[in-house]
Structures are given as C-alpha cells and as structure tokens.
Amino acid sequence: MSLSTAFFAIIKRDLVLALRRRSEVANPLLFFILVITLFPLGIGAQPHLLQSIAPGIIWVSALLAAMLSLDSLFRSDFDDGSLEQILLSAHPASLLVLAKVIAHWLVTGFPLLIVAPLLAVFLGMPTSSLGVLLLTLLLGTPVLSLIGAIGVALTVGLRRGGMILSLLVLPLYVPVLIFASNAVEMAGAGLPIQAQLNILISFLIMAVFLAPWPTAAALKMSIN
C-alpha cells in the first residue's frame, strides 16, 4: 500500500485507540485543569498578581501536561510488539512516527486549546490576549509533542524511564516556554508580538522536519 495510506491508517488507528481508552486521554487534560486551579487557591485573593503570572501558569501547566502524556505515545506499541511491525514496514519509519505524533497531539495537545481560554478567564487574563494564548498553544504544543517523542523513543525500552524522560525533555522545552509565555504577556500589555510568533513558527517547522528522524532512530535502538 502507498505511503499516504499507511500514514493515515496509523493516524486513524491511534485515534480509534484513544477513543477506546479514554482515561489515557482525559488524564493529562484533567491534570492541566487541576494544576491551574491550584494556583489561585495557593496564592489567595490577589487578582493582580494572578493576572500578571497567568501566561506563565498556563504555559508551565501545558508543559507538564504534555510531559505527563508522553509515555503513552509509544508504550503500548512497544509492549505488544506493534512497534516492531511498524518499524519493519517498508515505508520510512520517520514518517510513520510523525503520523503517531500527530495523532498523539490531536488527543493530548489539542484538548488543551479548548479548555485554555476558559482557564485564562478564570485567572483574570485580559480578553485581548486570549487569541494570542490560543495561537501560541497551537504553535507550541505540537513542538512539545515532537521534541518529547525523541525523549520517549530513547527511554521506552527502560522500565523506569519516567524520571530520565523529564530530565531529558524539560530543558528542551524551555525555549518554547520562554517565547510563548512572553508573547502572551506582551499581548496583554498591547505590545507587538510578531517576533515571538515568528520564532515559534520556525520552532514548529524545524521540529516537524527534524524530530521524526532521531525519533525513528531511537526507537530502532530501543527495540534492540
């Protein structure tokens, strides 16, 4: 079958799988909502403080939620041997891996976009920056999934890879965090944000083209 058939078959398969084990999808989303809810409780009735750190809170929570969801990307395929079959396919493994990451983002990253505006209002973020928040999440969370995929691919063979995974991946998330939360903050102050958005777009383009190769190579190493 052609490469595009295989590509879409993998996306479809992973979406069906996500539909059939909903808890795995719901957990990162609930985590995201809970962490954000904890801040007003911990900080107390200081609306101005909360408002000024809202972009940071939302982005850090998104980062942690993305991290939490990463393990499910290759774990079950690794455990039941489906990963071997995917890598044995004559199609380029990097593109099949990209299909898996896209499906994974659709079920773990995309839902964050839907609840984020609600939580932003809850933190008192000015409505003028809501659009920018969504835009940064739309550009930034796929980068988190793509970079994270390299980390999971390296650690999926280890029984207790969770801690190493966060040590590997979180530092690489820092640039996305800096530019994304900065853009939201600047937008709130009415300043131009074109530069930050351009950088986020370039991150996304680079990640889409460059991350699948090391991911596929690391997976081949992990199933060894």
């Binding site: 079958m1 058939t5 295989a6 078959a9 993998i10 398969r13 069906v16 799988l17 059939r20 084990r21 079950s76 455990d79 039941d80 041997g81 489906s82 071997e84 079959q85 995917i86 890598l87 044995l88 396919s89 004559a90 199609h91 099949l96 081949k220 199933i223 060894n224």
Partner: protein, 207 residues
C-alpha cells in the same frame, strides 16, 4: 508457481555477543526459494537473537547478511520480509478486522484478502470482535493471518506454534508448505517437531 525463484538469503560468518557471552560465532547459511530453515538449540542459545538480527533489529557483532546477493540496505529486503515474534503485534483494543487493515496498510497486498486470510486461519466469525477477547491461540492465528494477506517472500517466525492446539499446528504447517511450494522461504525456531511434506528443511543447531 510464482516469480520468487531467484530469491536467496545468505548469512556469512555471523556472530552475536550478548553481555560478554558469545551466543554463536562464524555461523553461515544460505536459504533459497522454497526452503525452510529451522533453528534448533536449547533456551538461551541465541535463536531469537539470530531472528532479530535477520529482521534488522540488531546488528550482528561480526559477519553480514545478503539478500539476493545484495547487501540488505541496497535491496528490497525489508518489503520482502514478514516477522511474527513472541509478541503478537496486534492491539487488543482494536477488532480483528481493524488490526489486519492496519497491517495491510503497512505492507503490500498479497494473495489473500483480509476476509480470505481470516477464513484460512478459521477466524472468519471473529472479525468484529476485539482482540482483547480472543484466546491466546486465536491471537496467534490472527498474527499468522497477517502473513497471508501481505506479500512477503521471507517469513521469519519465532516459535509460531506457541499456544496453538493440534489442529492449529497442522493448519500452520499446511500454510507453511503452501508458501514454500510457491517459492517462498521461511526461517523459524521451534521446539516442536516439524512435519512439512515435500519441503526442503535445513536445520541449524545453535549450541
């Protein structure tokens, strides 16, 4: 008979070292079209390691492999190969049919359609059942059905008879004989006695 006749798999003085222990060294063999290579040896003698080297999951520590006298990376080897290992490689949350559809999308369409392949392994009534609800033997037959519907010259089977009943074993042996009669080749490990009619079976003993 089909055009598989010119295929051959050659291994030249392979060796495999695992955790400072030499599993095998200087192992050479040739499998030609229509032949079966049966790997024998006790547990831990490196049978699975050898199969994983043949699948390209591991690099041999010395020696090399060639497919139709070309190096593996220069040939169509990976599209000619199908592997059924210890792990079934099927998702238990998907139905039998959905699993085979994904497998078909990853490979090339072969002699059998999905329905025909399922009929062949006596799973025709289970196509809309979740794989999680199948028994171990049925799962095994499902993963072997994958071999039928994709077009692969070389089958690499790691203990294919595990958890199959007597009828299941006879069925798989029939399918293997048919594959060889069409010029296909099979490399397998098994602790069971193999009864393949009219097939050239080579045995390699790993010690």
């Amino acid at each position: 008979m089909s055009g598989y006749v010119n295929y051959s798999l050659q291994a030249n003085s392979l060796s495999c070292i695992r955790d400072d222990r030499v599993l095998f060294e200087d192992l050479s063999f040739t499998v030609n079209a229509g032949q079966v290579l049966l790997l024998e040896g006790k547990n831990g003698s490196g049978k699975t390691s050898l199969l994983r080297i043949l699948c390209g999951f591991r690099e041999p520590d010395a020696g090399d492999l060639s497919w139709c006298s070309d190096a593996l990376s220069d040939s169509s080897y990976y599209s000619d190969l199908a592997y059924v290992g210890h792990l079934e490689g099927v998702k238990k949350e998907l139905t039998v049919y959905e699993n085979l559809k994904v497998a078909l999308a990853l490979g090339q369409a072969g002699n059998y359609s999905i329905t025909e392949a399922l009929t062949r392994v006596n799973l025709e009534d289970f196509d809309d059942m979740l794989v999680g609800a199948l028994s171990a033997g049925q799962k095994r037959r499902l993963s072997l059905a994958r071999l039928l519907m994709t077009k692969n010259v070389l089958w690499i089977l790691d203990e294919p008879f595990t958890s199959l009943d007597r009828q299941g074993i006879t069925l798989i042996e029939t399918l293997m004989s048919e594959h060889c009669a069409q010029g296909g080749m099979i490399v397998l490990t098994s602790h069971q006695d193999l009864s393949l009619q009219g097939v050239n079976v080579q045995r390699v003993m790993l010690s």
